[in-house]
Amino acid sequence: MNIQVVSKILEANDRLADSNARKLKAAGVYTINLMGAPGAGKTSVLEAVITQLKSGGLRVGVIEGDITGSEDAQRIATLNVPVVQINTGGACHLDANMINEVLDSMPLDSLDMLIIENVGNLVCPAEFKVGEDIKLMVLSVTEGDDKPLKYPLMFRESAALVFNKIDLLPYINFNMDRAQKDAMTIHHEIRIFKTSCKTRDGVEELCAWLKGLR
């Protein structure tokens, strides 16, 4: 007997992601899935933008995803914004179910924006929706200018790309033109920002764009 099925294999995750997205939208929360390699500076970028967004009156909450530990949540908590830490216990990405389990512990009705910092990884987080409005990725210049061509899916999926640690550019061989051109060949509409969390260069531009998303 031939049984026709036609069903998405990751349907369970997609369904939960859609349910998270509905809950967030109903509460008026704009959600960003923040991705990048370990050490790219995701948490530092987050600290930099939260400080500025908060002073502009935007109410931001954070979900931190890490394999283990709560270092990132502790850093974010000092900024006096609601934060929840998820420990994946080994899994290399966050999935919709993990977000679903912690959403109720976030004060969604008193938030304008939720930033979900994914596990540091340039591959898997791009494959699993969690309920976000957009994906945002951070690539530090010390990772090398060849990364767009080597990890294309994440660049294809991200609405914006933040080149971070640009204060180090004078000391390394990073061809910004090449990296930018490759990223835009993979994703023509990707928005590009260049930041240094140390000198705070570019942070204002990134914040202005984030504010305009809502």
Binding site: M1, I3, V6, S7, E127, M184
Partner: protein, 114 residues
């Protein structure tokens, strides 16, 4: 990258569809795997062969159909297959403003059961 988890989802879904249809043994399961799905067919087959043991799909084969990428040019409406997986340039008008319409598939199509 997550072929074992995906193989388990396929197996669970196939078993429930088989039993719902009043059958008791699965002979084959056909799935579509897009080139952007991040799934390696070889690894998926390996994982499926490991987890099917002791289930009603023990002798089933997993048939994977590869789905090639397809783009539509937003500038001139040309439909084309990109020369390289992620270098998306319209061969007709050289525009890079293209949308990907095929290649992300990861779905079960049908199963043979008795």
């Amino acid at each position: 990258m997550h072929e074992l988890y995906i193989a388990q989802s396929i197996l669970d879904s196939a078993v429930s569809h088989c039993l719902e249809s009043g059958c008791s043994r699965i002979e084959s399961v056909t799935v579509q795997v897009g080139v952007y799905s991040g799934v390696m067919s070889e690894a998926l087959n390996f994982a499926f062969d490991v987890i099917k043991v002791g289930t009603i799909a023990e002798t089933a084969s997993l048939i994977t159909e590869k789905v090639a990428p397809q783009c539509v040019c937003k500038n001139c409406a040309q439909i084309f297959e990109p020369a390289d997986r992620f270098i998306l340039i319209c061969p007709e008008c050289q525009s890079m403003d293209v949308s990907l319409t095929k290649g992300f598939e990861l779905q079960m199509l049908c199963l043979e059961a008795i």
